[in-house]
């Protein structure tokens, strides 16, 4: 099939690519643009490891077509730090050991960033339900929730 030309914005940079009509945004990010931060854990929207933010909406990039990114803004984990300054969530995930193998971490960081953007001081339950779309098999979630709570305090300047 003929490719679809797409021009979009990824992590603040203008990006253009050619993709197949049935190619997902996740495949574009990983295989065409070399942004391998988003991971494929299931390919069916059930694990959240491929989470990105599309025009301020948290989505699974495996359930978005590459062509749908035309004219929109995509944020991935690779865009969270600014120069050598980590985002507070990145820093707190390290300090709390909120990751062990780390394959789910990019997805969790993006989901937590979206959660805190919309709810700067979430309760534990709001964090747990807000992150329920991201599966983790190593940590049992305890330290992830604590890292998000800690980051929320820092970001609120509390």
């Amino acid at each position: 099939m003929a490719g679809v030309a797409v021009s979009t914005t990824i992590n603040g940079d203008a990006v253009e690519y050619l993709c197949q009509p049935d190619e997902t945004l996740l495949e574009v990010l990983r295989d065409r643009l070399g942004l391998t931060g988003a991971k494929e854990g299931c390919g069916t929207g059930d694990c959240g490891a491929c989470s990105v933010i599309l025009d301020d909406r948290l989505v699974c990039s495996c359930l978005v077509l590459g062509a749908e990114a035309e004219g929109r803004r995509v944020e991935t984990v690779e865009g969270m730090a600014h120069g050598d300054k980590l985002h507070p969530l990145q820093q707190k995930f390290l300090e709390h050991a909120a990751l062990q193998c780390g394959i789910c971490t990019p997805g969790f960081l993006i989901a937590a960033k979206d959660l805190l953007a919309k709810n700067p001081s979430p309760t534990e339950e709001e964090i747990r339900f807000g992150l329920a779309g991201n599966l983790c098999r190593c940590t049992g979630y305890d330290k992830i929730v604590r890292a998000v709570q800690d980051a929320a305090n820092v970001m609120r300047g509390a």
Binding site: Q20, R30, L35, T36, G37, A38, K39, E40, G41, C42, G43, T44, D46, C47, A49, T76, V77, E78, M80, A81, L86, Q90, F93, L94, E95, H96, A97, L99, Q100, C101, G102, I103, C104, T105, P106, L109, E124, E125, I127, R128, F129, L131, A132, G133, N134, L135, C136, R137, C138, T139, G140, Y141, D142, K143, I144, V145, R146
Partner: protein, 754 residues
């Protein structure tokens, strides 16, 4: 210099602290490279054709149409993987599992594979491969498979370990037995006896990263493999043997690994990728879909277990007996054997007997899953123990304290125990505030004990000291969950320098000697042993160089807190030489300074745990919710306490998922019905409370710092802890795992009518 592994008490400076891990930045910025994140120039996409049948003879495979499809560069079947296993049955099973040679033995068994220029072409090529199957009768249930007349998976299998040699083939590959004393007599003295049968469904390790590799085989017999694995040296050995290559000609580089839990201790598609690459003459990238991971990697066993335990009025157990039937998939395994060994391991028993049966079924080849075989056996035993305590009229914790194994106890699997932590974990639980917290309506509390052996094994470590005095540590055991942090702490501790000056990396197979798999909770235990040994060797060299710089005898030079110190008044004026200063002069005093260690780490200390769990059950729907969870486990010495807590919490969470919702569901057609994360339900964030942990430290006498393995025990108690909590909440004794809502509701209804 031989290395003395014995424990000696010391107060630590680096070990026991909680620094940020050295490999963390890449993992939070998305730069860390996992199995599927690696690409090579000119690589092809590999895809595998899998059997849709549970059991079928492969009469013929026609790949001609697929080979003609434009963009297809190689198509292989078992014919492209000649048998180099020369009589090694275990290796032959691995070969046959990678690509079926005569029969497709389960839904998802690989029968052919293609390498093509892109995924779309590869998918189309798979559809053009015609396989002529002769569908055979199948059996997927562990009890059904043992019955007379059940379809035979392998008619060359005769049960081992029976008193008389069997004449007819069977689905039972082996019978194993453990124990001591006379259980018959023991039951004679019992005032109370509990006898129950339990079943647990098959579960998967559930790692979020599907298996992935890039294989690049060259015409000259050399090859490279980039792969997510728990043991790149073992993968090299198996892949090289299956492909008829010299092991040292195959370099295996381990990527970061996205979880393994035992499921990445075994090659699945890697030999297929190498064979495709060899035939196509180009690198091949082969990434499993989630559907393939569930259907065709290595879940743990489904089990059927009978337990019988008797005790006197005073609460002393007089006899304990268990028969354990474990499914192994279509290939022989020793899973029931390990179950039989661990079943009663927590207890001091006069009369105990356990018998294990390995059972073949048309399901994927069973592999290890975190303390393999132990959670199922503990579910049966700890449930029966709980019921027996109630009949005797004793508190479940006190009943366990009375019968807990101690130092000197003969274990149920044979050897006498050294110092062990089951007693202290039970005492800690008895005094834990969780045990006294109030419970509400429809709520209940349960507790259970767990054990795992832990191993040592072959380990190599290189410790190189840079000219600037910073240290690079190359280890051979895969770091799944943060061991690079603990190993850096250990190197810093032994050398007496700051943690920040140590950088630990996992070396590939061409830069270190052979290392065993990261399994059996041996990662930190054995690699820390080799790291301490390497550091001590480096310190010897540092002292020699300092002696040379001072021009005195090396015997007068001691190593204290990262410095060479001249001993004796005659050297009073010499002051100290820091590691940095010695390293800076290394060019003139004999060259680069390093410490190496190649050893077999033995004497891995067992790790015991006791868990407490509160649940609430909805009487109208049977839904069970975990309200509070506490893990108390013996770590010997917690090198990096945060990551030890992480192992406790992660193991408990997997146990909770296994107890409540996770199971392989096979239809009557022998096909797996839920190969995906939607219907194979692992716990989500909102399912679990915070998981509280308490680390006990009963030093392991066979490790310099007293370290024990901690990675696996935590998955053992949850199944029984939750079952006992449900019994406490609603008076129902659940005997079938997972305790899903339909099963709990049916039990509640039966209890209401009963």
């Amino acid at each position: 210099m031989n290395f003395d592994p014995r424990y000696s008490a010391r107060n630590f400076t680096a070990v026991g602290t909680r620094p940020v891990r050295p490999d963390g930045i890449d993992k939070v910025t998305g730069r860390a490279r996992y199995g599927a994140d690696f690409n090579m120039a000119g690589q092809l996409v590999g895809r595998i054709l899998r059997s849709p049948h549970a059991h079928a003879r492969i009469r013929k495979i026609d790949t001609s149409k697929a080979e003609k499809l434009p963009g297809v560069k190689a198509v292989i079947t078992a014919a492209d993987l000649p048998d180099f296993t020369n009589g090694d049955a275990a290796m032959y099973d691995i070969l046959d599992n990678c690509m079926a040679r005569k029969k497709a033995l389960y839904d998802g068994h690989a029968v052919a594979a293609v390498a093509a220029i892109d995924a779309r072409t590869a998918r189309q090529a798979l559809k053009l491969i015609e396989v002529d199957y002769e569908v055979l009768a199948h059996v997927t249930d562990v009890d059904e498979a043992m019955k007379h007349g059940a379809p035979l998976i392998n008619d060359a299998v005769f049960t081992e370990g029976l008193d008389e040699k069997p004449v007819k083939p069977s689905n039972v590959t082996k019978r194993s037995q453990f124990g001591h004393g006379d259980v018959h007599a023991g039951f004679g003295h019992a005032d109370f006896v509990v006898e129950r049968s339990f079943r647990t469904e098959q579960t998967h390790q559930g790692y979020i990263e599907p298996h992935a590799c890039v294989a690049s085989a060259n015409a000259d017999g050399t090859a490279d493999l980039w792969v997510c694995t728990q043991g790149h040296f073992v993968y090299r050995q198996h892949c090289a043997q299956l492909l008829g290559m010299d092991a040292s000609k195959l370099r295996v580089t381990s990527s970061e690994i996205g979880g393994g839990f035992g499921g990445k201790t075994h090659v699945w598609a890697e030999p297929v990728a190498l064979a495709l690459s060899r035939k196509a003459g180009r690198p091949v990238k082969l990434v499993m879909t989630r559907d393939e991971v569930f259907r065709a990697s290595g879940p743990t066993s489904a089990t059927s277990i009978d337990v019988r335990i008797g005790a006197r009025k005073d609460g002393t157990i007089t006899a304990a007996e268990a028969t354990l039937r474990y499914s192994c998939g279509p290939y022989a395994g020793s899973w029931a054997e390990v179950g039989a060994m661990t079943a009663f391991a927590c207890y001091k028993l006069e009369n105990v007997k356990t018998v294990g049966y390995e059972v073949l079924v048309n399901r994927p080849k069973t592999a290890a899953y975190r303390a393999p075989s132990a959670p199922m056996a503990a579910f049966a035993v700890e449930s029966a123990i709980d019921e027996l305590a109630k009949q005797v009229g004793m508190d479940p914790v006190d009943f366990r304290i009375k019968n807990a194994a101690q130092e000197g106890t003969r274990s149920s699997y044979g050897p006498v125990y050294g110092p062990i932590g089951i007693g202290p974990t039970l005492e800690a639980v008895k005094n834990h505030p969780h045990m006294k917290a109030p419970l509400g309506k429809n709520q209940g509390r349960g507790m259970a004990c767990g054990f795992w052996f832990n191993f040592g094994g072959q380990t190599c470590t290189d410790l190189n000291i840079g000219m600037d005095g910073s240290v690079s540590l190359a280890v051979g055991t895969i770091d799944v969950g943060g061991s690079r942090a603990s190993l850096s702490l250990i190197a810093a501790e032994e050398l007496g320098i700051a943690y920040e000056h140590v950088k630990a990396v996992v070396a590939d197979t061409s830069s270190l000697g052979y290392n065993d798999m990261t399994d059996g909770s041996r990662g930190t235990f054995s690699t820390s042993m080799a790291t301490i040994s390497a550091a001590r060797n480096a310190i010897r060299t540092l002292r020699e160089r300092a002696a040379q710089m001072w021009d005195i005898s090396v015997d007068d030079v001691a190593w204290e807190h990262g410095h060479a110190v001249a001993k004796g008044e005659k050297h009073g004026n010499l002051g100290k030489l820091s590691l940095k200063e010695i390293a800076a002069a290394s060019g003139t005093t004999g060259g680069p300074i390093a410490g190496h260690s190649e050893l077999v780490a033995d004497g891995a200390g067992v790790s015991f745990a006791t868990h407490i769990c509160d649940i609430e059950v909805d009487p109208e729907t049977g839904a069970t919710r975990v309200l509070r969870y506490t893990v108390v486990q013996d770590a010997g010495k917690a090198v990096h306490p945060t990551y030890v807590e992480g192992q406790y919490q992660g193991g408990a969470a997997q146990g909770i998922g296994w107890a409540l919702n996770e199971e392989y569901i096979y239809g009557k057609d022998g096909r797996l019905q839920n190969p995906g994360f939607l219907d194979y339900r692992i716990p989500v964030c909102s399912d679990l409370p915070m998981i509280d942990t308490q680390i006990l430290e009963i030093p392991n006498p066979n490790h310099p710092y007293g370290v024990r393995g901690v990675g696996e025990t935590s998955i053992v108690p949850p199944l029984a802890a939750i079952a006992n909590a449900l019994s406490n909440a609603a008076g129902v004794r659940m005997t079938h795992i997972p305790m899903s809502p339909p099963r709990v509701l049916a039990a509640l209804e039966a209890a209401r009518e009963g």
